[in-house]
Symmetry: C2
Subunit: 225 residues, 2 copies
DNA sequence: ACCTGAACACCGTTCAAGT
DNA sequence: ACCTGAACACCGTTCAAGT
């Protein structure tokens, strides 16, 4: 009978396998579970072996967020700018929702990766081709992304509220005399059957794209006197 | 001569002093520097003394984010809804910018604190008093907060880019052939003297408030056929 | 009642060693 | 070249002890 291997076979490790393992752990168990030691265990290897393929943990986290950007559908210059940006924003929301750790992680990362840069380039291209001036393009991009990021941030927060302390308990703890409007909103709307927070996404996306469209008018960005 | 005290004098500690120390450390050195041991050192005490006043670190972090919400000016029902909400959104942006760790922290916290609840109540009150239906109020609130949170998130990310690798270096590293629009935006706009990302905030706030205002029209939220 | 020391099970990372 | 063992300086948290 063959004895079990005392050490991991060689060449089992690679940069890509390390990033993939990190992503899997983050998706399944949250970002806190992503440790060098845990990644190594996932790949059947000791912690220190990881350092032969990446220089440190920050490098892994940088690649992790670029992996999320790589899942976002780029808008096409050939299509109508409104439809293309709507599709890209929906796709970005979905990617960020698939990886709830992404929004929080982005805030602490400094170096944008290649997929992130490519995504930026595509959106800028669509806006410029649609006739937005350079300043209008900068505003439009910032405002559109603000909406998507902020919406996903709220969705993620709501998920945690629901997981940690079941919404009904929470609603019951609100004092109706102190918080009449919160009570009204919770009991008459949020807790009703058809309600889903996510439905506000399309409403907001439409409003935001409409608003951005007004920046095509050259007079719109003139400083008010 | 009196010998230095071998231990900290009694009653130096309190829940409020612990939270205040945590906030100071987070503001000065970032969220990662907020450790029980570091808080204790800041207060001239051993780590374990902290546990006599809070049950665990999560409790400190929960209070920390509610402290940020307590800095946000609430909108008044007496004023015009548009002005009041604009003031509240500007105030929220400023509070979140003063404490750059806040947005990232919120994403992982489940229990909204009293200041957070009071802020929600005030915004809901203004929207309902202005004539927004309950569903329109829910949409308007979600969309407005999405914009503010997302905008601040981007501002914080940009700060880190600037701190870590000075923007010119980064701009120089972009291949103009691969990223023509990114190059155009960077060289002709972002790096010019008058440019500030923050200027997009007022533009976006106006667009978003305009868009939300349309939800006052009862036909606006009807499902399109 | 309030603070401390020692300990436990974790981190990221370095350095010298094995094959 | 690639993986490992031992060590260092950290974490949050528990538990028994001091005053």
């Amino acid at each position: 009978m063959t004895s079990p291997p005392a050490r991991a076979p060689r060449n089992t490790l690679s940069r890509d396998r390390i990033i993939a393992a990190a992503k899997k752990i983050a998706d399944d168990e949250g970002l806190d579970a992503v440790t060098i030691r845990r990644i190594a265990a996932e790949l059947g290897v000791k912690a220190m072996a990881v350092y032969h393929h990446v220089t440190n943990k920050d490098e892994i986290l940088d690649e992790l967020i670029d992996l999320v950007f790589s899942e976002v559908e780029a808008p096409a210059i050939s299509g109508p700018w409104r439809d293309e940006l709507a599709r890209r924003c929906r796709s970005m929301r979905e990617a960020l929702r698939r990886h709830p750790w992404a929004v929080g992680l982005m805030e602490t990362r400094g170096t944008p990766g290649p997929a992130n840069l490519a995504g930026h380039e595509a959106v800028l291209g669509v806006l410029r081709a649609a006739g937005f001036s350079i300043p209008a393009t900068a505003h439009a991009f910032a405002i559109l992304d603000a909406f998507v990021y902020g919406f996903v941030l709220q969705e993620t927060m709501l998920d945690i509220v629901e997981i940690t302390e079941i919404a009904p308990d929470f609603a019951a703890a609100i004092n109706p005399a102190l918080f009449p409007h919160l009570t009204e909103m919770t009991t008459q709307h949020v807790m009703s059957d058809g309600y889903r927070f996510a439905d506000s996404f399309e409403v907001g996306l439409t409003l935001t794209l409409d608003g951005i469209g007004r920046l095509l008018d050259p007079g719109e960005l003139a400083a008010p006197e």
